[in-house]
């Protein structure tokens, strides 16, 4: 039963991610109205045939803004994942392999971890200034610490594994050992970490937008929509309902997908192998 349930939720999670990706890619095609087009006569109107998710206080189409916001959020989250994973793996593996630099590198990362992520991101944004790239870097820095910690611990464990010793004794070169033995053995934890990074960074990106320090308000994003819509919570709840639901469902889907991927990628957890 549990197995079936896991399969079902994983299927739903991947399905939602697929729909989200297609929607974001095809945003201009599937939205009838531009996300920037204002129609003051129709402002704050509830969901209807033309405005499927209603309109906001400027009379802009909420559906169109949610769909275009998906683009912003996916690009933002993806950017954070790339940034945090690339630098985190590099830092963690370097600290685990080259013991000389470990004290400096890991203490720096500990210091960064001591700050609450959102606070650190706020500080970085105020230093770097607003803008998509700067926001991604700011949030990415807060998450690279977690990836670095995970990779550091894994490197220390894997480099002592007997199969590494066996490979060395078999004449395999250092570079081949890192590429073929050390990194593949960390792949599933890294992927799981990346999905969590994606999910949580979506929340942080939305929070920065909500606080007015994230992506400029001209670009539709789920966080910006929440920020602007909060004033009309009682009069027009759809302004918060749709972007909020999108954030929740996306975060949930990526978490579920991450778990499912981990199960699939770890051969020890796979349930059957053909022919054996």
């Amino acid at each position: 039963m549990r197995f079936l349930f896991r399969r079902w939720t994983a299927l739903l999670g991947f399905l939602f991610i697929a729909v989200l990706l297609i929607t974001a890619a095809a945003a201009p095609v599937i939205t009838p109205v531009s996300p920037q087009a204002m129609n003051p006569a129709e402002k704050l109107s509830p969901p209807s045939g033309l405005y499927r998710f209603g309109t906001d206080n400027f009379g802009r189409d909420v559906f169109s803004r949610v769909v275009h916001g998906a683009r912003t959020s996916l690009i933002g989250g993806g950017g954070v994942v790339l940034f945090a994973t690339a630098l985190g793996v590099l830092a963690g593996a370097a600290a685990g392999y080259f013991r000389r630099i470990e004290p400096y590198l890991m203490r720096l990362i500990d210091v960064m971890m001591a700050f609450p992520p959102l606070l650190l991101a706020l500080v970085l944004v105020s230093i770097l200034g607003r803008g998509m790239l700067n926001v991604v870097v700011a949030v990415g820095v807060t998450y690279l610490t977690r990836t670095a910690r995970v990779v550091y611990a894994l490197t220390l464990r894997i480099r002592e594994e007997p199969y590494i010793e066996a490979a060395v004794a078999g004449g395999v070169s250092q570079a081949a050992i890192i590429a073929r033995h050390v990194l593949p053995n960390m792949l599933s934890p890294i992927i799981v970490q990346a999905t969590f990074t994606f999910a949580f960074s979506l929340l942080d990106l939305a929070a920065l937008d909500f606080l007015g320090l994230g992506i400029p308000p001209a670009i539709p994003s789920w966080g910006n929509m929440l920020s602007e819509g909060r004033l009309y919570l009682t009069r027009a709840p759809w302004l918060l309902l749709f972007p909020g639901a999108c954030i929740v469902l996306t975060v949930l889907s990526f978490n579920i997908a991450g778990d499912a991927l981990r199960d699939r990628l770890d051969p020890r957890l796979s349930r059957s192998v053909e022919g054996v």
């Binding site: 010793e165 053995n185 020890r268």
Partner: protein
Amino acid sequence: MNSLLSIEDLRVSIRGLFPGTDRIYPVDGVSLTVASGETLGLVGESGCGKSMTSMAIMGLLPRPGGRVERGRIVFRGQDLAGEDMLKIRGRDISMIFQDPMTSLNPVYTVGEQIVEAIRAHEPGASRGETRARVVSMLGKVGIPSPEKRFDAYPHLLSGGMRQRVMIAMALILHPGLLIADEPTTALDVTIQAQILYLMADLRREMGMSVLLITHNMGLVAENADRVAVMYAGRIVEQAPTSELFRAPSHPYTRGLLDSIPRMTDQGALDPDGRLNAIPGMVPPLYALPGGCKFAPRCQSRTERCDSEEPKLFGLANGHSVRCWLFADGGDRRV
């Protein structure tokens, strides 16, 4: 005798356990030879330097901190110090380890791992031909339906099967010397026997030499042509296997053999019915006694043992012993 590997007066040092402590010498003045096609048993307790000797041969001393201080390791007439060990490891000298459960990488199939052993030395080998070689080797080490097992992940195989895979991986390039470091310690007794028979068969078939490292005297009795006993980084006794078991000479060797429990008689029991044991403990490497390293635990010790370290004295039948009792070829045992 045509020697394949000869170690001459090897002294290995590693960094002390804590910063500021002196270097310690886990291997000190070890000389031994392994002839072509021969199995040499290297026996001793944990920490006596037997594994460190094998690591020195492979050029895999712990880094930083481990180094060869003195002596030479000569393989096929070449001093290994001047060789590119990356080319020698796995091709000319290979190794199998104690724990087959963890010596295989869990994320690759066993076939892929053996293929990697080939690729490390023959980058241009073709896929199909390599696969055929690996499958035939898996069959040779007694793995049933090798074609299927090629694609099995390590966790799907039992301990004995995994050790067979390790042997296949070590032997795929027909090395001249196989270093087997406690190859059966982690296995069930029945599987131990199978693995040892397999190794003996393959050794004969492929004409290689084996350096069998173990703490198990029984294993050596059945599988080695000659035996070297190590204690505190030194070889204390060396002899052909039958000679060693017929006339164990060093008090340490005798102590080891006396402490093996027997099913048939009370031979290994002391008058109280308890197992015989060598009194005392192995001295730590940072506080070795000045004279004979075994003196503090020895029941035949004399004043000379405390002040002066004995050298290896040669006896008849290729037997040599590091003990003052045998100075000048004499036998002053009481």
